[in-house]
Amino acid sequence: MAQTSEASESSAGGVARAKTGITSLDSILNGGIPKGNLVLLTGACGTGKTTLALETLSNAARAGEHGVFLSTTEPVSRILENAATYRFFDKATVGKTIHFVDASSAFESLELESVFTPKNVDEALAWLSKTVKEKKATRLVIDSLTGICYRVGKPELVRDFTFRLGRELGELGCTTIATVETPAGVMAYSTFGVEEAVADGIVLLGNHDARGYLLRTLQVVKMRGTTHSRARYVIDLTSHGVIMVPMLKASMRGE
């Protein structure tokens, strides 16, 4: 299975798609993520969420699309330092086709409370839509959505926020990948248990103990607007990008 495809838009099965540029993942998704979808990339720490999200953005930028990387957990300088270790990442795209934005600074300049008021939620969503429009972004990575959801607070508000986020970005034609942190060893698709119900897609990253060794895994749990494989794959994070192969049945059985 070749692992890298030129990321761009396609319309496999009559559905406009945003390719991830990771050939095996696009193949699982029957051509890519349906355009405008909000996809949760969920998993515990160290499962490869940020790397995979960054690679999709880089691949899209290589194909001429514009993207925004919104960091809620790390300073942008740190993200860039880490990104420079990957060969798929082209420093020249920074500020041109990929715009890195520090959420904390942005929210501070908007004078939002540390725990959002209902008005703050509106302001944050409006700012995000404005940023996507200004940067002409067709791709957005939010790393992590959990970081914002903690500021939103209660599960019912998180649900509403996630729903509005998906709807507003979808209307702009922007395909969004939002990383979601889950506790290690706990089977969960999101932090608050509500985000997955309103998101269009869930890609679950995890660890699997096979004969005493930890394998990184990927499984597409849900993706609205397309048929897709629900099989579990084993992934490797290399300097050249994410590599995927099917998980052997023997590993699943623990043999």
Partner: protein
């Protein structure tokens, strides 16, 4: 009569289609000659070779081949044995290590990692050897691994050569090899 290993291997591999999987069964006595013949054939044919070793550490293979005057510049190793015997040493340019030959998915991933770097054109995969993988893995897992590996390469027009030593290959595994491979080469003493 002494068998001409180099000629038998070269002729058979030259005749195999570019996306074929070839099972190479060799007597233990001819192991080194057989392995050397495969590496030499690929080098002379201008092919890059992804060499999966679960038998001898890659550094030893390289030393032995170089001592015999065989070109090794076309080899890209997936070394599944050095780590468990504690001989990985410094990072080597053309070697990726897998911690254990039981990590079959990792072997698949590292093969893909090389293909991502060197491309898929004019590449051959050499698996050395099925019988040593059988020492570390059960038959079902190994069958599944072989089917995936060979077929995923076949669709990309990549030739696969799977070596196994006669005396150490369980009968069931021989059947798997016959099923998964398109042709076979038998290197044995004609005497």
């Amino acid at each position: 009569m002494a068998v001409d290993v180099e000629r038998v291997v070269r002729t058979s591999l030259e005749e195999a289609p570019p996306n074929a999987a070839v099972a190479l069964m060799s007597d233990l006595n001819f192991y080194f000659q057989t392995m050397k013949a495969v590496v030499d054939w690929a080098g002379k044919a201008g092919k890059k070779m992804v060499y999966v070793t679960s038998t001898i550490p890659s550094s030893v293979i390289q030393q032995q081949l170089e001592a015999e005057g065989v070109e090794v510049g076309h080899l890209y190793f997936v070394d599944c044995i050095s780590f468990i015997v504690g001989s990985t040493g410094e990072e080597k340019e053309r070697t990726i290590y897998v911690e254990s030959p039981t990590m079959l998915e990792n072997i698949m991933l590292k093969v893909e990692a090389w293909l991502k770097q060197i491309g898929t054109k004019n590449v051959v995969l050499f698996l050395d050897a099925m019988n040593t993988l059988a020492m570390h893995n059960d038959e079902k897992a190994l069958s599944e691994f072989s089917y995936y590996l060979v077929n995923s390469l076949r669709v990309r027009q990549i030739q696969t050569v799977v070596l196994s030593i006669h005396e150490q290959t369980p009968e069931d595994l021989e059947v798997v090899l016959k099923l998964v491979c398109d042709s076979g080469i038998d290197v044995h003493d004609e005497g």
